[in-house]
């Protein structure tokens, strides 16, 4: 809010999350999302833009990440900060992280899609399926026989 002086020229866009909360976002930030961009191009966004698939807490996270990402382009420290934040979230609250990924995918924000995928990939590196399940709280839906068979078939990956 401190930067009102230089952002007066940019347009403010109003967005409404699925649980009815209204967000006011600068145009430059909102246009990171290809979904919102397309809606603006189609000229049906002169009022409040509804985002029926995103809840308020998740949308808040997305905006934060968008802003940081815009700042980070020429700032290596910011890049590190954002990265450690993402990893922190992945460790402490994997459920929110999956929601974030889905929301970013729905809003079609290319840069964040790549970032979140990269963090998850880094996170998965060198971990066993059992550890991944435990950390991300994924339910194991294989029967013991199926699992044994798959493990046997892919034994090379566990050498």
């Amino acid at each position: 809010m401190a930067s009102t002086s230089n952002s007066t020229s940019s347009k403010i866009i109003t967005l409404r999350s699925s649980d009815g909360e209204v967000f006011e976002v600068e145009e430059s930030v909102a246009l990171e999302s290809n979904l919102i961009r397309r809606m603006m191009e189609d000229d049906c966004a002169n009022n409040i833009i509804p985002l029926p698939n995103v809840t308020a807490p998740i949308f808040y996270l997305v905006i934060e990440h968008c802003k940081k990402h815009a700042e980070m382009k020429d700032n290596k420290e910011k890049k590190k900060e954002l990265r450690s934040q993402g990893e922190e979230l992945l460790k402490s609250d994997p459920h929110t992280y999956s929601n974030l990924m889905e929301a970013v995918n729905y809003l079609d924000i290319k840069s964040l899609m790549d970032l979140t995928a990269q963090w998850l990939a880094d996170f998965l590196k060198g971990k066993s399926p059992r550890l991944i399940r435990e950390l991300l709280k994924i339910k194991n839906d294989f029967t013991p026989e199926e699992e044994a068979e798959i493990l046997e078939r892919n034994r090379w990956a566990f050498d």
Partner: protein, 187 residues
């Protein structure tokens, strides 16, 4: 009476040809189309959004639905086309429809890891080494469909024959592995 006409009679819809459908305002926006929105519901929406023109909002919402389609071919479910003010909804059953329904019926509250769409998982898997990819893909059933095939992996692997068995060399881990390709090498 044809099947289509029967359907129309049952639903009480007057449409000429299958391409014409209900106007966006009349369609319960993202879900399956079961009934028209009542006057009262219309009013409630108008009050909730604080707009005197309910139509503007529904148009925006309709466009949101339309904008969703082009990059969501894998999500399956209903397909929306934008045709001036009209939306055509084609029912298409796919494997992912359950997930789709969860997502389209109101709030996206509980996306589990296993619900993530395939294209999103692809973004992750293309950043992994073959061994990591295999380990990730066997954590649960819905991730199993991302399982890599050695023959089509992004990182090239070297296949070779040794002692009558097929082997491959994974350059990312610099290790040789026994490949189970289902090929029998007759020697």
């Amino acid at each position: 009476m044809t099947r289509q006409e029967k359907w129309r009679a049952r639903k009480g819809v007057e449409i000429a040809g299958w391409k014409r459908s209900w106007v966006a305002r009349d369609v319960g926006i993202y879900g399956n189309v079961k009934r028209r929105r009542t006057e009262e519901e219309d009013k409630r929406i108008r009050v909730r959004t604080g707009s005197s023109k309910a139509e503007e909002i529904t148009r925006a919402e309709a466009a949101a639905a339309a904008a969703m389609t082009p990059h969501k071919p894998m999500a399956g479910g209903n397909i929306f086309f934008m045709d001036d003010k009209e939306i055509i909804i084609v029912e298409k059953k796919t494997l992912a429809q359950d997930t789709w329904r969860k997502r389209t019926h109101g709030v996206l509250k509980n996306v589990q890891w296993s619900d993530l769409p395939m294209d999103l998982l692809m973004l992750v898997t293309e950043r992994l080494t073959p061994a990591d990819h295999v380990r990730m893909s066997i954590t649960c059933k819905s991730w199993q469909c991302t399982a890599p095939s050695i023959l089509f992996s992004k990182i090239p692997v070297l296949l070779f024959i040794k002692n009558h068995t097929s082997n491959f060399f994974d350059p990312s881990s610099k290790k040789k592995h026994l490949a189970r390709l289902g090929l029998r090498i007759v020697g």
